[in-house]
Symmetry: C3
Subunit: 304 residues, 3 copies
């Protein structure tokens, strides 16, 4: 792998992705082998908008590699409040660390910031833009549970605004997966994403109901339908309700169906599913650690 | 000691407590002996309500053992804001660490959370519920200063709402201490706590004035009377004033009287006492580190 | 160097300063030589007002020495909210760490706090008071770029309220620098600072325009003119505009002119200067790490 900055999953070739997933698998199997690997190295975390699990996961990953964190703290406490530009902030902070992880509400900000720094920068989400480590941990979870061979994935919920979903769908085309997109009509894939996927020759279909495809799925990736997308509360309740799953829903599914969710969930997956073998969403969250360890390891190695 | 989770001081036998205090004493005497003991281990800190000293103390303890911290950050920055349940939060976070410390405003939340995780969880305060490490450091402070033999303790201030006090009082019965409870009538021990203590066969008496018992005390444990307990500001001032101590108050006390306070204090103890040999409250706060080191050490060892 | 606490740059002799700068230079040249030097040591960071770069810089410095941090967190989360005095807070926190770094909005607070603790305390800014590590990193930057021999420095902008500026000006007298102060009349050096500098026999002059002195300068230290100093927005714009520099401004400067700024900047220095060899302000910010490493190293060594 040869990338200074990790801005988008799209920049990664299938070979790049596999090298990260392979290393993640090695690390997950024997974390002690890398426990001191990056001792003395510092990762700066700049979260211009909050993200508990992504931040904790990167923190754990860096520390599990023997490294440590220099955190910017909450934005309302930072120089940004004094009117500092993002370009200035990252140019100052790169002097404090060996790599940067940044989340920012503005699409394109990670790319822009990376143009100003010499140390590697990882995009941990830039608004409606990209979040490549989420995609990598999703792929890792799929590979470890269902495998990529002859894979059929259903992606359900808010497909219009879901950054996670677009990025994952694009990456899955690399692995020749068959994809089913299940959503209310008002939250279907944006035209540009659909076009993009067709361009890659992806095998894909769109649906408004889960029933018709559920039995054929190896993986069902559920995302949240957000209240704020609907002007009317009743309309929201009615539509969101149709895309929630419970034990009864899954009766029609394959015994080995893998249910994933980027979390946090609200009502999309009934708690009764947590105890079943379908539930892979907590493991999926935990997989963030070995996957981010693998990525950090590759990046710090390149730049050592 | 054999406990997966540390939820309440009540779950600890006298033997359990003594094993923690013994280890704390060993650690305090020679901290360098354990400086690398838990290198590579991570403790996740989840403070759903703020607590400067408890959080700093746990952080120092874990780092003094060679381990490190993964902090959730302030709640207004967290997934909780997005409507995530506590059960989901802890099930995600357990994937980032080897143990959890949690403070939460809701009584019973620590017990509930512990039912969902496999890594050990330490309750760092659950609202009006329990705060076992505060009790342990209080006991440690008493043992190191006055000893448990033939011990007479006075506990003064807000005995109605003081979580710290109920837990300490209960634990002291294990060590056969004689206890005097000094408070305004409106802030006496709740009936249930009094009943509970009587059940254990505790030697205890209740008072509205300190004078009558002060000379007999080995330890005086002072707590704050909170303004918000009184509808009337004048009534508050008058009553709180009667339970504040200064140099003059302590003239009637034994020379070796140990004065404790869980801190922060406001006006309960006059600053002039800080310089006297009675003042043990700062040492008490500092004792949080070796005591929490001892507890973490025992827990991480068990689960290694 | 023999100081328990670092409260003000004024307490440091020329010899003290040079010993810090020498050590910083050694560290910058070979950071790996000190990577484990203070392993196991803890630095408590108490920021009673936010300061992204100072806090990140101290954090990076302590970790680059192999040590670690115990942070108090934001003040609105702390015991201070419950009415605890500063004296109590620092007396508790000193039990959690081997040294303290404190920023506080109140002038004189660092000195006051230091009277209550036994571990060394470093002032990271006390309101309109002192900020000695900023002065040290400014001096280090000057020494590494222009050197102290036959040095001519221009200091421009808000000279009335700028804490950074007063402290630097005073320290520069120690190195026999010629100093030019450039500001609007309403923001000239306060009488007391001017008097203070004259007392030391400093070679200094005051100006309202940069043009007259620019060609003679080795270093131009720019500070921000704050909007809130002016009752009238238009007056602010007009005046601030006169003290902003761009590529055209610098045409009259020496090729080797070093431009510095404590950052964050807003409009004082045009971005087009960033790419020129004049721009030393990002390097200046980065220099905070080796300088603070040097200071921490000296202090922890003394108190080991």
């Amino acid at each position: 792998m040869r990338h200074d900055h990790i801005i988008s999953a799209k920049q990664l070739s299938r070979e790049d992705i596999e090298s990260v997933l392979d290393r993640a698998a090695d690390i997950a199997e024997d974390p002690s082998a890398v426990a001191d690997r990056h001792a003395g190295k510092l990762l700066a975390t700049l979260f211009f908008e909050p993200s508990t699990r992504t931040k904790m996961s990167f923190t754990a990953a860096m520390k599990r590699l023997g490294g440590d964190i220099v955190d910017m703290g909450p934005v309302d406490q930072s120089s940004v409040k004094k009117g500092e530009s993002l370009a200035d902030t990252v140019r100052v902070v790169e002097g404090y660390a060996d790599a940067l992880v940044m989340r920012h509400p503005l699409e394109g900000s990670a790319k822009m910031a990376s143009d100003f720094v010499d140390v590697p920068l990882i995009n941990a989400g830039d608004g409606a833009g990209q979040h490549p480590t989420q995609t990598l941990l999703d792929l890792y979870t799929i590979r470890e549970s269902a495998g990529f061979d002859d894979l059929t994935v259903g992606i359900m919920g808010d497909l219009k605004y879901g950054r996670t979903v677009h990025s994952l769908a694009h990456a899955l085309t690399t692995f020749d997966a068959t994809q089913h997109f299940i959503s209310p009509e008002s939250l279907q894939l944006p035209r540009s994403v659909r076009y993009d996927l067709h361009e890659t020759g992806a095998s894909m279909r769109e649906h408004t109901e889960l029933d018709e495809v559920l039995p054929s799925l190896d993986v069902l990736y559920v995302t949240r339908i957000q209240r704020e997308r609907f002007p009317d509360e009743n309309e929201y309740r009615e539509i969101a309700g149709e895309y929630q799953i419970d034990a009864e829903t899954l009766e029609a599914a394959d015994d080995d169906l893998v249910v994933m969710h980027p979390l946090p969930r609200v009502d999309e997956i009934a708690p009764e599913i947590d105890e079943t073998s379908h539930a892979h969403y907590f493991q999926q969250a935990h997989n963030g650690v070995p996957v981010r360890m693998a990525l950090l390891d590759l990046i710090l190695e390149e730049n050592a």
